[in-house]
């Protein structure tokens, strides 16, 4: 079978009961909103469309391309689904995909499904659509560039949220899980961004009407821009903070009553997420994070230009 599991699917047993339930509540509320919006705005015609598109995302996750040393890149699809189908429909489609992966293939657990839906379906769709919506009236290359950055960020956000949930459950240590997950997913995210951009480019060339002004994609309200930008900011601010100042985050979580056990660290891995001239301050790491986003964005834009020149 070509089906390859994604590294973000958390199995049952790895998240604590409390964290699983909190994530389920957040996901259930968001899905509930998506359901009521979709019931209002969608005709019966959209139901088979969303169903077949869910199968599309599932199948598209099987498309891979060789990277190096036997590893391969492939798609998660949250950003692509939200950009092509609109935010609420994208969320429902991703929820269905994750539910089927958990139920049918045991890829991801049942009790932790709320967390998996949140990480891989809802956050990815919100970032993907929110950022894209901001430039959906802009030029083609701007749209593609932003879609690429949004796809990369959506994977990073999923990885960050997964890490935080694992840490709050007392399953992993913050100092290890954040740099490890974000490091790996920084690369996976580039694959995601490239596939998303190339797929959108292909759709824009052959069926521009599907992404045009009267499409489902353009119907999401502008509020999504705010949501997308806010979540992005949270990710950009939180990830360097979490890797550089885990003790601070642990204290905050302790104050909020999240951490049952005091997990102290007999060793430290200090990631180099700082700017030398600012020293090891929170500001420095946040700026480093922002610079990282800009650099990745620039790389994706350049690669996108290269792709366009060749195609």
């Amino acid at each position: 079978m070509h089906y390859s599991p994604q590294p973000l699917h958390i199995p049952d047993g790895f998240l604590s009961f409390t964290v699983s339930v909190i994530c389920w509540v957040i996901s259930a509320i968001t899905i509930g909103m998506a359901v009521s919006r979709s019931n209002k705005s969608l005709g019966e015609r959209q139901i088979p469309l969303m169903g077949v598109m869910a199968a599309f995302i599932f199948a598209a996750q099987m498309i891979n391309f060789p990277v190096a040393g036997g590893t391969s890149g492939h798609l998660l699809g949250g950003a692509l689904a939200a950009i092509t189908l609109g935010p609420w429909a994208g969320m429902l489609v991703m929820t269905a995909v994750i539910a089927v992966q958990a139920l049918l293939l045991q890829d991801g657990g049942l009790l932790v499904m709320g967390a998996n839906i949140l990480n891989m379906g809802l956050i990815t769709a919100a970032i993907g659509y929110g950022l894209y919506r901001g430039v959906s009236t802009g030029s083609r290359s701007l749209k593609l560039a932003v879609a690429g950055i949004a796809a990369w960020l959506s994977v990073m956000a999923g990885a960050l949220f997964t890490s935080l949930q694992l840490w709050l459950s007392g399953t992993s240590q913050l100092q290890v899980v954040i740099p490890a997950m974000l490091g790996v997913h920084a690369l996976i995210g580039v694959g995601e961004a490239l596939i998303t951009v190339a797929a959108l480019m292909f759709i824009l060339q052959t069926r521009p009407d599907l992404l045009g002004e009267n499409s489902v994609s353009a119907q999401g309200s502008r509020g999504w821009m705010v949501a997308g930008v806010l979540i992005t900011l949270a990710v950009v601010l939180l990830s360097p903070l979490a890797s550089a100042d885990p003790d601070g985050l642990e204290r905050v979580a302790g104050d909020l009553g999240f951490l049952g056990k005091g997990v102290s660290a007999p060793y430290h891995i200090l990631p180099d997420y700082t700017l030398p001239f600012l020293g090891e301050t929170a500001l420095s790491t946040i700026l480093a994070g922002l610079i990282g986003v800009v650099v990745v964005g620039a790389i994706i834009v350049l690669l996108g230009q290269g792709l366009k020149a060749k195609s």
Binding site: V35, A54, F56, G109, L200, F202, I203
Partner: protein, 263 residues
């Protein structure tokens, strides 16, 4: 592609197969919930849960070791829990040097690590058993009865139906890519990584359009057959006495495990 490439339903005649799918879903979810609620090191309760699982295996007529065979799927994820071995303060068991770190395994850390693995191992087996004894369309139907929004279960039902068709589509696309990617001896096929990713992206775009257009045809075909916004079913599920008794027994057993785990 044959549909059971994904589907893991095992057809058989057994007590579990005959139960109402709602009962199976509830029992599996309660069992997984119970595992999450058991404290670290509740060995007796873990043991009882395992016996419960074995009993369920036996009742499914698929053999005692049925779920064990595929139960290690979640194991790679254990890597992510590895750090608890060293991070929880406790009596040192053994220390070693790894690259630049001096690591000490503590007894409390080991206890937690093993508990996480056992929870995951038990839970994943129950999930495997659930899809083995309930047909997926029945499971979707059960979800509908359990108040999952209709739009979501309908999407899941479509996903399940067209998954195999679109997976075939993907394999055709990949086969076409492979036959285009001949390499001269001693040379690597394909361009840069970005180029390869672009090709994969075009394949995804192609698949998107084919799926989109297919959904149009599907909708028209459904309209022609009298579709009016929701799916009809011809096998209504009704709960019988056997189902109520099973649910009661399962809940009692789980409650007992929880009590044992807390003593």
């Amino acid at each position: 592609m044959h549909f059971d490439a994904f589907d893991r339903y095992h057809d058989s005649e057994s007590f579990l197969h005959r139960l109402d799918p709602r009962v199976k879903v509830v029992a599996a979810v309660v069992f997984i919930l119970s595992n999450a609620l058991l404290q670290d090191g509740a060995w007796i309760a873990f043991g009882l849960s395992w016996l419960f699982l074995l009993l369920a295996n036996q009742l499914s007529n698929l053999g005692l070791g049925f779920t064990f065979r595929r139960s290690l799927v979640a194991l790679p994820f254990a890597l992510i829990a590895l750090t608890v071995l060293f991070s929880i303060p406790g009596k040192p068991l053994s220390s070693f040097h790894f690259l630049v770190w001096d690591l000490t395994i503590t007894d409390a850390g080991l206890l937690r690590f093993v508990s996480i693995l056992i929870r995951s191992w038990l839970s994943v087996q129950m999930a495997i058993l659930l899809v083995a004894v309930a047909r997926f369309p029945d499971l979707i139907h059960a979800l509908e009865h359990l108040r999952v929004p209709g739009i979501l279960t309908t999407i899941i039902a479509f996903l399940y139906r067209y998954l195999f068709v679109l997976a075939d589509e993907v394999f055709r696309l990949m086969r076409a890519r492979e036959s285009r990617s001949a390499a001269a001896p001693g040379k690597r096929a394909g361009g840069s990584v970005a180029w390869r990713a672009g090709i994969a992206g075009h394949m995804a775009g192609q698949l998107f359009l084919r799926s989109y257009e297919r959904s149009d045809r599907v909708y028209n075909a459904m309209l022609a057959r009298g579709y009016a916004g929701h799916m009809e079913t011809i096998n209504p599920h009704e709960l019988r006495r056997r189902d109520y008794i099973t649910v009661a027994l399962v809940l009692l057993a789980i409650l007992f495990f929880q009590l044992v785990g807390r003593l």
